[in-house]
Amino acid sequence: MTDIRILLVDDEPDIREVVDVSLGLDREFATRACASGADALVTAAEWSPSLILLDVMMPLMDGPTTLANLRKNPRTAHIPVVFLTARTQASEVEQYISLGAQGVLSKPFDPMTLAASVRSYLPPVAASHAP
């Protein structure tokens, strides 16, 4: 059985660790974490994750720019992206969706239900691996 690959992009090491453990509660998830948008572009192209969980406010390359760059590369253009962000005003959510994100999850998040929330954004094929 193939794992469902989730790529997490966040510049905060503590948040990367908490998200990693939270997603690990779903045994089918395999998570990799990147600390920057630039890393994410490389890893996404090589590893082909099922979904990318992307922070918004990051130094150098922020979330929306990372998303735009992912869309430009044919190897990563199709990968669903969900923002995980502290900025979740309605207008901001609208803006992220218009950029082509599949969804927005807010920080702080409930670690016990994060994996289920992420699963709901998976494309039907990947989600069909549900236990």
Binding site: D14, I15, V18, L25, P108, M112
Partner: protein, 623 residues
């Protein structure tokens, strides 16, 4: 010599010429040459001035011809939220002064008791106060965002521990982790509340109004707070009701109101008690009540209850885990929803909080302007804020327009299809789409191809930058608050002039008596042949043609489709002939009169009647 480093441009809003002169003389006598004192005498002129010019500070007499009291303070504040405001009050009017400060003014001056030094002192003080307010707002917003990042790690880690994600915890460890977990969540709520209230006070929260059924929303809030209520040993019950209660509201914000009222009621209820929520539908308003069996609200706290960081006693915040912001947020939201919030002692102890919101039916009923003068040109205003819409309707009524409302893109398209509007005003921000998309779709409807459309929005740049906008033939982009004079000028050009100018009549006949009679009601061009008629139509537009088919050679039914104006649209025709009956069936022929039975007077009456029913619209239509 005065030094006025900070203050270079003052805008004086004052309608009393004596007071204006006095202030101008004070400034010039004291050599405050670097300070420019501009003057306007009404609020609409002030709004225009503030939209264009850089102003360091506003001096406002709140009693103006077009705005009074707190209303004028609010409008000045809305027109220039970042500019400090000093209010000029009359002697012994301390209430106005106090309210002015609460409404966002930084200081006040009492007329008759001022000299230029005093004014400059007040202006400097106000400028500095405004600067500090701005710093505070920025600080709060930054800190709140910065706090969320570590809080995400803390609540996340504690949540995982509590969920046994790192193995089972022993009881003493679990108790300590639970304390940390609960308090980290409380901190998250506090940060959220602070952000919310700052954003709302700064007017940065966009409300998305739609039709909302209240009871399911209450059920959702009760479900979301079940765990919280169980923690206090309190049950929450929604009273049954037969009728659905629909309001016009932003569902997310209304949910926040209900949640805050519920969480208060739960926190202050003794264990083993019940909180009862009821939703009642009245003729205009829906009333939501939340009843608790708590200790009631102390008398001296009642006037402060909706203030920020208000807690009945200092120990409460710690004991009850509240932020002191919940009710303040409730009040802010309910105000924006056009509703009312209040409280009363419950009959057998405890407190009943109530929120009243406008019924959907009531608001929907307001959409059609039924009180306008008969025959007034009808406008469609696409705007989701009811207060703004009602204010604009009232203003437009003064200048003889009827204004219907559309609260959403969907609404607007339905209304526009059902009624031919003379002009359409569009807000860029609508709950189910953006104004530019709406205009694109309106322009696709043939009857609105040329109709004047004006954008009226809080942020017109958002629509103007839209790549589609250049092709949409938008008459103008007006920022809120609306410069009403400019709006009226825009609307008057294509509509009123068209309605008021003398109609142009093309008279195809040889009968001079008819031509003379017609010239009483319009400008008449008389031609004797079909060739001349067609040439005249090429040269200029006519509102109507009068045609004698018997006397003019070649005139017959086949001619009617030739009678078009310069844009190719058919013009209405009154057929006047010895025997016009055979043309009467044609849609373009408005009336077919038989000459032998018709006096000139009744011909003129018929023409007048047809002209009166023509649409007062720039786009010509087949009637």
């Amino acid at each position: 010599m005065m030094s006025t480093k900070l203050i270079k441009a003052i805008l004086l809003i004052e309608d009393n010429p004596g007071d204006v002169r006095l202030l101008q003389e004070m400034f010039s006598d004291h050599g405050a040459h670097n300070t420019k004192l501009a003057h306007v005498d009404c609020m609409s002129a002030a709004e225009k001035y503030l939209a264009e010019g850089a102003v360091d500070i506003i001096l406002l007499d709140p009693g103006l011809p077009d705005a009074q009291g707190l209303g004028s303070i609010r409008r000045a504040h809305a027109a220039a939220p970042g500019v400090p405001l000093v209010v000029l009050t009359c002697l012994d009017d301390e209430t106005v002064a106090e309210q002015a400060l609460q409404e966002g003014a930084q200081d006040y001056l009492i007329k008759g008791q001022i000299d230029v030094r005093g004014i400059l002192r007040a202006l400097r003080h106000a400028t500095e106060r405004k600067r500090l307010e701005r710093l505070k707002d920025e600080f709060v917003s930054t800190v709140s965002h910065e706090l969320r990042t570590p809080l995400t790690s803390i609540t996340g880690s504690l949540g995982l521990l509590m969920g046994n994600a790192a193995g089972n915890l022993s009881d003493p460890v679990r108790r300590l982790v639970a304390i940390a977990h609960t308090n980290s969540q409380r901190l998250v709520r506090l940060v959220n509340d602070i952000l919310d209230i700052e954003k709302m006070e700064a007017g940065q929260v966009a409300f998305n109004f739609s039709r909302v059924e209240v009871r399911p929303l209450v059920a959702q809030a009760i479900e979301a707070n079940r765990g919280f209520a169980e923690g206090y040993g309190v049950r929450v019950r929604l009273e049954d009701a037969d009728t659905a209660a629909d309001v016009r509201a932003d569902p997310d914000r209304l949910l926040q109101v209900i949640t805050n009222l519920l969480s208060n009621a739960i926190k202050f209820s003794p264990a083993e008690n019940e909180v009862v929520v009821a939703v009642e539908k009245g003729p205009d308003m829906v009333r939501l009540t939340v009843r608790d069996h708590g200790p009631g609200i102390p008398l001296d706290f009642r006037p402060l209850i909706f203030e920020k960081f208000a807690q009945a006693d200092a120990g409460d915040a710690r004991q009850k885990g509240g932020t002191g912001l919940g009710l303040s947020i409730v009040k802010q939201i309910v105000d924006r929803l056009g509703g009312e919030v209040g409280f009363a002692d419950a009959p057998a102890g405890g407190t009943i909080f109530h929120v009243q919101l406008p019924c959907w039916d009531h608001v929907a009923g307001l959409a059609i302007d039924r009180d306008a003068k008969p025959g007034a040109p009808r406008l469609l205003l696409c705007e989701d804020d009811l207060d703004t819409a009602l204010t604009l309707r009232e203003q437009l009524r003064q200048v003889s327009f009827a204004t219907d409302f559309a609260y959403s893109v969907g609404d607007a398209l339905t209304r526009a299809a059902a009624t031919q509007y003379h002009a359409i005003l569009v807000d860029i921000h609508l709950p189910d789409g953006d104004g530019v998309s709406l205009i694109v779709r309106l322009r696709e409807m043939p009857q609105y191809h040329d109709t004047p459309i004006v954008v009226v929005s809080g942020d017109t740049s958002r629509g103007r930058d839209d790549s589609r906008s250049s092709k949409l033939n938008v008459l103008d982009w007006l920022n809120k608050p609306v410069d009403f004079d400019r709006l009226v000028r825009l609307l008057a050009k294509p509509i009123v002039q068209k309605a008021n100018r003398r109609p142009r009549i093309l008279h195809v006949d040889e009968d001079n008596a008819v031509a003379r009679a017609l010239s009483d009601i319009g400008d008449v061009v008389t031609v004797n042949s079909i060739e001349e008629a067609l040439l005249a139509l090429k040269a200029s537009d006519f509102d109507l043609a009068v045609l004698d088919v018997a006397l003019v050679k070649g005139a017959g039914p086949e001619l009617l489709p030739e009678l078009r104006d310069s844009s190719g649209d058919l013009i209405p025709v009154v057929v006047f002939s010895a025997d016009g009956a055979h043309l009467a069936a044609d849609a373009q022929a408005q009336a077919a009169l038989a000459k032998s039975h018709t006096s000139i007077d009744s011909l003129v009456a018929t023409v007048r009647d047809r002209l009166a029913s023509r649409p007062a619209n720039v786009s010509k239509e087949v009637v």
